[in-house]
Symmetry: C2
Subunit: 187 residues, 2 copies
């Protein structure tokens, strides 16, 4: 028996995306977003939804580029902090003691200490209501050698964080449970 919970933003899991941009003066900023993900394979694109009030919204609109850094579990506190304060009045990199690194591919900075980053040029901007959805074409993905295994990124080494809407909590990613495009074969 299913119970109605009303019209809510509930879907599990959501990612923890650290969006990096420069402002007009070239100052780096970062913010945390959970409304986003991969949205196209060809060309490879990812989407992030941001409220207009954020510093990042203005930066991204002006400079048409952004990065998405993924924190490992070790950086959960810093990732959460990036979502608690506004870049309008805080140098979040300095306050968190983390390093803005200029992307060599797009006009945006990423978090040097975080193990994984996706570098994007702005491809589309869609107004959805309270949030604007920015779709970025992926220009490059970079990862620390320490999180790579024999088959690319090793999730056990990357230790990404998942966000759970509703209870507003961070969760660890658990163990591998099956291979996609395989475990469901009926033959």
């Amino acid at each position: 028996m299913k119970t109605s919970l009303g019209a809510q933003t509930l879907l599990f899991p959501a990612p923890v995306l650290i969006v990096g941009t420069y402002d007009a003066a070239g100052h780096p900023n970062v913010m945390t977003a959970a409304w986003g993900g991969i949205c196209c394979s060809q060309p490879p694109c990812i989407a992030v939804s941001l409220r207009k009030a954020t510093r990042t919204h203005g930066n991204l609109t002006a400079r048409k580029a952004f990065t998405v850094s993924l924190p490992s579990e070790d950086f959960m506190r810093q990732a959460d902090y990036f979502g608690l304060v506004s870049g309008h009045d805080t140098d979040k990199f300095a306050a968190a003691g983390l390093t803005p690194v200029r992307s060599d591919m797009v006009d945006a900075p990423y978090v040097g200490e975080f193990p994984f980053v996706v570098e994007c040029r702005l491809a589309h901007t869609f107004e959805l209501g309270g949030h604007t959805q920015f779709v970025g074409e992926v220009v490059d993905v970079k990862a620390e050698e320490s999180v790579l295994g024999s088959n690319g990124v090793d999730l056990g080494k990357l230790k990404p964080i998942a966000f759970v809407p509703g209870s507003q909590a961070y969760y660890r990613l658990g163990p591998w449970i099956g291979q996609a495009f395989s475990v469901g074969r009926q033959d």
Copy 2:
């Protein structure tokens, strides 16, 4: 030291979304999608990206409504199966032994046995290249009473699946590790 992995669709974790639609004759169909997630808070919206070749793409375009059911881990095989075969030539519900339930809110079916469903009316359609992004306004969310706790959906009972691009694998969601909008406070 970061290594370039090229322009790829890598972001962790992604969800496992079972998209339910009716065709013109009223036959229910489902397919599995991992490119999607929450994209707006007001109005509450979720996005799913689908290739034009899929049955669901045509159904959704015609009927302007869809559901997203989330499988629990117990239904991983069926969820994977829904992504392996085409609704053009298979009655996937019948083949998987699962029950299409007509939404009481929108013109689309969901998977009765799956513990959680989001019911959407189509709000926007965006062409991104190989994928079309469908943005649905959430009309209702329903969950089995067996997965609810004192604070809404209990993730330990829901047991949602995460998808990991690259290695193309399903992962369990791990334990709670911190409270968002809280753990990063510096005061």
